[in-house]
Symmetry: C2
């Protein structure tokens, strides 16, 4: 089945600009990995009549309609009712869905279900029910008059879970063609730079295709091959992968990995080394990202968030005269922070970050975006100075990226730029 | 003029999921401030036929159409052509627009204009031209057959500039109506519980309207009033606000605030108190959230991420015999962590969090989701035990919420549940 799709997001919060329609982006990206062509995104508010009209338009111009949002237990959750009415389906009670909702309350919320919760277990007759392990609203898929209709919850974490764990496997099972993607993750090069380096490869890329996806401070390349079997996809990808690896070299931090921190935790575990961190302007972001990874405790022992000079001195042991002479945002203090974190935690390696995230310059006149990143190892301590431009959140994210990449390069023995 | 609007984004990159449609969010939020009711968002690819069909649908269901994207100088930028064809307008050369493009090349790019650049200076006959000081593609607004059509560039920075500097002033000069919203933020009650408590208020809410928005672990209520002036909106909201405040009491942690951490930082600054944190299972998340707030350094001095027992003992001074006897996930260790963080950082208050975020039980058999949260103050140390169910990310988020709420309740002198 070669679908053309429309993604219909239901929720007044989208039309008020309260949130961006990230579900549509995430689903589109996911569908591109299974060869589904998305032609339209639509967002409509919590209004039954307009939702019905939108559904009528969509069924005429696409054959796969994916609805997000409005599946919850409350009065303004009527996506199922409207879609069923439009396609002439009844809502029927699904005991299996009810059981998973009950299970979620028992094991995750650990409290009794409020009245009305099991409204969510009523689904279109004849549908395939999509179990939701990330929340309580089940999803589903059904077919009617040549149109395939998918209902997914709108909460982004649940929508992502359902798309990856339920929708994609269901779509894959219906396609004779195998589509295989490989995500190549790159740090330290801008997207235009990656495109310029790979322009010849990209110009010739048909099957596999090669498309860049910009993320904050990094670039992802997705290589996608279509064939009748997985092995054929892999054979198609091999020569292009080799070219890309040669051209981008150690700017590639991983393939088919979740994040830079995932790579760092894996490398630390492989080498049986431990890491700690002393964070000033990143304020715990590096620790948070490393501990997002299950099993991080074997690699990351913790660290210090030293947001004031007092904590830098009292907890990390940064000498007061360094703080007085050079200020907190300086090479000597970054060095002393990394060495202090390594000493007090007993970790093999320690990172440090100190800088100006803004909105204002620091009291020494350092520009917003000035950041020092340090790495202390048994062989010594290195410090890099960065100029990360503007934007508090972006500066913090980039500083954490650079720090984690410094550890990755140390552990893989690749040259720092 | 009381507009109902549709925002139409043109660009295949949206349908591939390369970027989210942040323009639509930004424009929607801007329009809500001038009383424009956005009813639909649509995204369509760089395809002239589908764009024309989308435009035909939109003019039937909205009277203000805002197009973003496809105004550039290249072959796949044909939004203007398609929109003009649909509304029976000719494109004519605007010398003023050409002059601003030339000016941008002279003063910002500092290089000669490439051939074809001045295609951008051809605009619909009779339109009001929107000067673009953030890029080269001019925007415009025109009216045809009772429909108002706005064209804006798609690059987010340019789209934002044009919306704020050109579109909003143009609309304000035409709209007598004002919309005012108030966001009521709630912690400690589930969304169904909030709905049950407020069911009578919600049933009667027309103007102002009252709608709940679920976020991870908290609930937001948005009250929205429409009237001909700001004061009239405020008068409309006052009685319902009073009702909601009475019913929800101190579960409301703030109104029109960004987050629990923003409230905690503000309260700390008001009371001239400082906070630190000793984090185990949250791994830096509390510190990260507090330091997301600009100006946090006056209230949050930092803390320790003690992901291993060694760091709990060596850095926080948790007695080894407590760790041996009770294990890391226990009331006595949470207490000693909070007291240790307070002692070594010199902060007035200190939080601690220790628990099992999963995916597995800890070595003492504590269930996933078992979390102890402590708060040490000059008056003593309190520890709460929580059962947060499953899901690593959710447990960490909820543990941080509970910890921050503990500080909020201490600072506002409200009873812990």
């Amino acid at each position: 089945m070669n679908y053309t799709a429309e993604i219909i997001a239901v929720g007044t919060e989208l039309l008020l600009g309260n949130v961006a329609n990230t579900d549509a982006q995430m689903i589109s990206e996911a569908l591109s990995t299974v060869g589904v062509n998305v032609l339209y995104h639509t967002a409509v508010g919590d209004n039954a009549q307009r939702l019905e009209e939108v559904t009528q338009i969509a069924r005429k111009r696409a054959d796969l309609l994916i609805f997000t949002g409005g599946l919850g237990p409350t009065y303004d959750d009527f996506t199922k009712d409207v879609v069923c009415r439009t396609f002439g389906k009844e809502l029927v009670f699904f005991p299996d869905a009810a059981a998973t909702i009950q299970h979620y309350y028992d094991t995750v919320f650990c409290r009794p279900m409020p009245e009305g919760t099991l409204r969510q277990a009523w689904l279109p007759e004849g549908c395939t029910f999509f179990r939701n392990d990330a929340g309580t609203a089940p999803g589903c898929v059904f077919e009617a008059d040549g149109t395939t209709v998918v209902l997914l919850p709108g909460v982004p974490s649940e929508c992502t879970y359902m798309t990856q764990q339920q929708l994609l496997p269901w779509l894959r099972s219906r396609s004779p063609q195998v589509i295989l993607s490989r995500d190549i993750r790159i740090f330290g090069l801008s997207e235009p730079k990656v495109q310029a380096m790979l322009s010849e490869v990209m110009d010739e890329a048909v099957n596999p295709s090669l498309a860049p996806y910009a993320k904050t401070g990094e670039v992802m390349l997705r290589m996608t091959a279509k064939a009748d079997a997985e092995e054929a996809c892999l054979r198609l990808m091999e020569p292009m992968l080799a070219q890309v690896r040669t051209i981008l070299g150690d700017h590639i931090y991983g393939e088919d990995v979740g994040s830079l921190e995932e790579v760092v935790v894996r490398l630390l575990r492989e080498k049986k080394l431990t890491l700690s961190a002393a964070e000033s302007c990143t304020g715990g972001l590096i620790a948070k990202r490393l501990t997002d990874i299950p099993g991080a405790s074997a690699a990351f022992c913790g660290g210090v968030v030293s947001y004031t000079n007092e904590v830098k001195h009292a907890v990390l042991g940064v000498p007061q005269d360094l703080l007085d002479e050079y200020g907190a945002v300086s090479e000597p203090v970054a060095r002393a922070m990394a060495e202090g974190a390594r000493r007090i935690t007993g970790a093999d390696l320690a990172l440090s970050v100190t800088g100006v995230a803004g909105p204002d310059k620091d009291d020494r006149g350092n520009e917003v975006g000035t950041v020092f990143v340090g790495l202390s190892t048994p062989e010594g301590t290195a410090v890099r100075q960065l100029a990360l431009g503007r934007g508090r959140e972006r500066i913090r994210t980039m500083a954490a990226h650079y720090a984690l990449d410094m550890v990755r390069r140390y552990l893989t023995d690749t040259q720092q730029e």
